[in-house]
Amino acid sequence: MSVTEKSPNAAHSGHDHGNSHELAHHFVSVEQQHDAGNLGMWMFLTTEVLFFGGLFAAYTIYRYKFERVFEQASNILDPMLGAINTIVLIFSSVTMAFAVRSAQQGKSKAIVAWLAATILFGCMFLGIKVFMEWKHDAHLHVFPTADFNWTYAREMHSGGEHGHGHDSHGPEMKGILFNAPVVPQKYIDADARNPEAKQARLFFFLYFTMTSLHAAHMVIGFGVMAVIMVYAWYGYYTPNYYVPVESVGLYWHFVDLVWIFLFPLLYLLGAHLGAGH
């Protein structure tokens, strides 16, 4: 062929099947192969932008329609845990970036180590979210299930210690994810009379849907990373071929991007309202 090859494997490609997995037959050069793989991954991320974009659009509409209630509902969430999670997830993005860098350098075992660190911090994020945030949310009855109760949540949230004192003596009810105290009837009646309860429920529906979708993306990311780790361990990735590592890197950074937008919109919406909320 007439194309001048610059990669060191150019002399062998097509003839040497020892490391022919580095350059697939339908590509002219490793640069083209790399750019094609990158482009494909970005096309997929475009669909992901619109996947989350739909939920962000729904959030935007309802936030402007029910601004005050959304701000009050946002105050139920703990912004400190959200901020900690933000730092944890950004750090996992850094370890992922270093995993890709190790692949560029051809350091196979380092790829495995950095990916393991990424999974570790990702699991830390999910642990904080599920076992600290969602557990507290279940106790306040803000999960948008049948026993959602806005009046109860507001009272228990601002009641602080008093609220928890009453809870521990009440009868336990089996929730979907966590056990939570049964809601007294007066709260159920108060909610039925209060149109803002439905608006608050909308906020929490959006909150749990968006963060659950985000969490599902993270879990899928763990699975893909585990597969990549196995391949990396056996030296499958070289400085000439590390597109799969870079692709999972792009995916993980995208997951981080979504959270960067989720955090201020969901957690900090009513932060300016202060202690009175």
Binding site: T46, G53, G54, T60, I61, Q104, G249, I260, F263, H272
Partner: protein, 110 residues
Amino acid sequence: MSLHPPAKAWTYWANFLALCVLTVVTWYTARMDLGVLSTPVALGIAVIKAALVVLFFMHVWESTPLTKLVIAMSLFMLTVLLTFMFTDYMTRNYDVLPPVDHAAVSSVKH
């Protein structure tokens, strides 16, 4: 080899530091009462953080023009989605419905 050489390690840590600082800035500006500016400020800081992640962690800074075009296209599609949905819903005045004409409604046979 003509694939991009790996970036220097300190650039990743510098970006991490910048992202942490911007997270702290987001936190404190959210607590301030900026009135109508609170949303643009929060989203503006988020966009800066996103730009750092996209350009440097995702290596878009050194990628092909085609990749950059695909990213711009996805942002354009998202803008179309948000803009048209927003202008639609925010210009509907369905909070104020015409009063129900009970006589007309009750005369309809189901």
